[in-house]
């Protein structure tokens, strides 16, 4: 079982969720984050003083899936979230020991 954590542009979220859902990924968890990377953020100006707002608003999408469907999820993410401009984001892949559905106590693949 793996967790695919992607940091994406916020306005891609809706499309990504729909695409994943259509492909049969029936669960995901989303959070608001700020990222710093090659995309350097903006020079913001406040009352005459410039400052670098290093952090760009991003959305983190976490999908836990069986190891074998992992590839497919990644493909979808790459397809939907790629604009080709700096700042498209990253995908990080982790190994997961186990998943449990709180409602039923099921674990492993059945919990997803």
């Amino acid at each position: 079982m793996k967790k695919i954590e992607s940091i994406i542009r916020p306005h891609k979220l809706e499309e990504l969720q729909t695409s994943l859902q259509e492909a049969g990924f029936n669960g995901l968890t989303v959070s608001e984050v700020r990222g710093y990377g090659r995309q350097k953020g903006h020079k913001e100006i406040y009352r005459g003083s410039e400052y670098n707002l290093q952090f760009v608003p991003k959305v983190k999408v976490e999908v836990v899936c069986a190891s074998d469907s992992c590839e497919m999820a990644i493909d979808i993410i790459l397809k939907v979230c790629k604009t080709g401009e700096i700042g498209d984001g990253k995908i990080f892949i982790y190994q997961i020991d186990d998943a449990i559905r709180i409602r039923t106590g099921e674990s492993g693949k059945d919990a997803l």
């Binding site: 542009r9 700020r34 903006h42 913001e44 406040y46 707002l53 401009e85």
Partner: protein
């Protein structure tokens, strides 16, 4: 001695009237804050600085252009009676007589100027909401300047300045047409030139883009209602107890009925009691009663307000259907209900009658034609020269960063 007494009595009346007109001016002023918070509340947080910026400088632009040309375009004097256009020269200044009741028993020259100037700026504010979240700031500022400096006062002159609509018998007490429809037409044309916000009508369906801060919108609507006491009540142009108090009542009852109308319509037809619709309903009732606020009975004002409240709900839905993307519902409220309110003068109240209805219709059509033509020319010119729409990237990121390099709620990165 007796003359002195009469004079003193008249002066007292003048002082009372003028006091009311100044207070009405202050009330109309606060409508600008109402528009600012309403529009900010009904749009996304990434565009909040931008919309607040526009609404903060519009009163300034409005008052200054009105000083330079607007007032004298709108009130060019009796020599232009019945005309389509008049101009009494640049700038404002008062003779000693202009600040006594020799000018007018209701107000001094200065009060007159400021009250009308506050009105003028509201027309531009109406546009601001409809074109929000995608318009380039400099283009909007230029549009607003021309709109309040020229378009609004020229139309205003037709009726309030004694122009041809006035001669004709067209009636518009406080501006259902002269202010609200004028702003509404400008908004409609602007929205058509701009196109909808990205994603609003993507993939053949309507994707709502909810406003980010509904409490702000509520603050806005209540302040607008408050301001309307000055907008309508001040349009009596004196503190006449009978008329002003009637206007207060018709205005409030229309607003109340508008709320109930919109609540009922949204609950009944759209399944849930939609707060933003109910807020629009209050405004719809207010816009609807404005043309005939001095002519209606309580019952008539309730009818007008209720219908306006129902209309606004369906207008919002309809404009969405035809892909006219108006984030705050300004076109539905100000244009549609402005037209309805203008026609209502021919249907209900002291002036009701087919003849009047016809006059009202002429007013609606001629104003519509002129404003559509004039604002099309402005928007077209701006589009061809500096462009009117921000880049796709800026729209996604928000105009606050793009146009202002600021954020409205920037606490995240400064959590320290």
């Amino acid at each position: 001695m007796e003359n002195q007494v009469t004079l003193d009595i008249t002066n007292n009346l003048f002082t009372i009237n003028n006091l009311w007109m100044m207070l009405a001016t202050a009330l109309v002023f606060i409508m600008h804050l109402g528009f600012a918070t309403l529009e900010a509340g009904l749009t996304q947080s990434k565009n909040t600085i931008n919309i607040l910026f526009k609404n903060s400088v519009i009163p300034a632009i409005g008052l200054l252009t009105y000083t330079i040309v607007g007032f004298n375009l709108m009130y060019p004097g009796e020599s232009f009676a019945g005309a389509f256009f008049g101009f009494a020269g640049f700038g404002v200044s008062a003779t000693p007589d202009d600040v006594t009741n020799a000018y007018n028993i209701g107000y001094t020259y200065w009060t007159d100027f400021l009250f009308q100037g506050m009105f003028a700026a509201t027309a531009a504010t109406i546009v601001s909401g409809a074109v929000a979240e995608r318009i380039k700031l400099p283009s909007f500022l230029i549009f607003a300047t021309i709109f309040v400096g020229l378009v609004y006062p020229i139309v205003g002159m037709w009726k309030w300045g004694g122009g041809f609509l006035d001669t004709l018998g067209f009636y518009d007490f406080a501006g259902s047409s002269l202010v609200h429809s004028v702003g509404g037409w400008g908004a409609l044309v602007g929205v058509i030139f701009l196109g909808p916000r990205l994603g609003k009508y993507a993939k053949g369906k309507i994707t709502p883009i909810p406003g980010h801060n509904i409490p702000l919108a509520v603050i806005g609507v209540f302040l607008l209602w408050l301001g309307w006491f000055g907008f309508n009540g001040g349009s009596v142009l004196s503190a006449d107890p009978a008329l002003v108090s009637l206007v207060f009542v018709t205005t409030s009852l229309a607003a109340s009925a508008g709320a109930i109308g919109a609540m009922t319509a949204s609950w009944g037809f759209l399944k849930k009691p939609d707060l933003t619709m109910t807020l629009n309903g209050i405004l719809a009732g207010l816009v609807g009663i404005t043309a005939g606020a001095d002519l209606m009975s309580p019952t008539e004002s309730i009818i007008i307000g209720f219908i306006a409240g129902v209309i606004v709900v369906f207008a919002v839905v309809l404009f969405d259907k035809i892909k006219v993307d108006d984030p705050v519902g300004a076109i539905s409220v100000h244009l549609v209900c402005g037209i309805f309110g203008t026609l209502a003068v021919g249907i209900w109240g002291d002036k009701a009658g087919l003849g009047q209805l016809w006059n009202q219709l002429i007013g609606v059509v001629s104003i519509g034609l002129f404003v559509v033509a004039a604002t099309s020319a402005i928007w077209f010119g701006l589009k061809k020269t500096m462009g009117i729409r921000v880049s796709e990237e800026e729209e996604y990121e928000g105009l606050d960063i793009g146009e202002h390099a600021m954020e409205s709620y920037p606490d995240f990165e400064k959590v320290s």
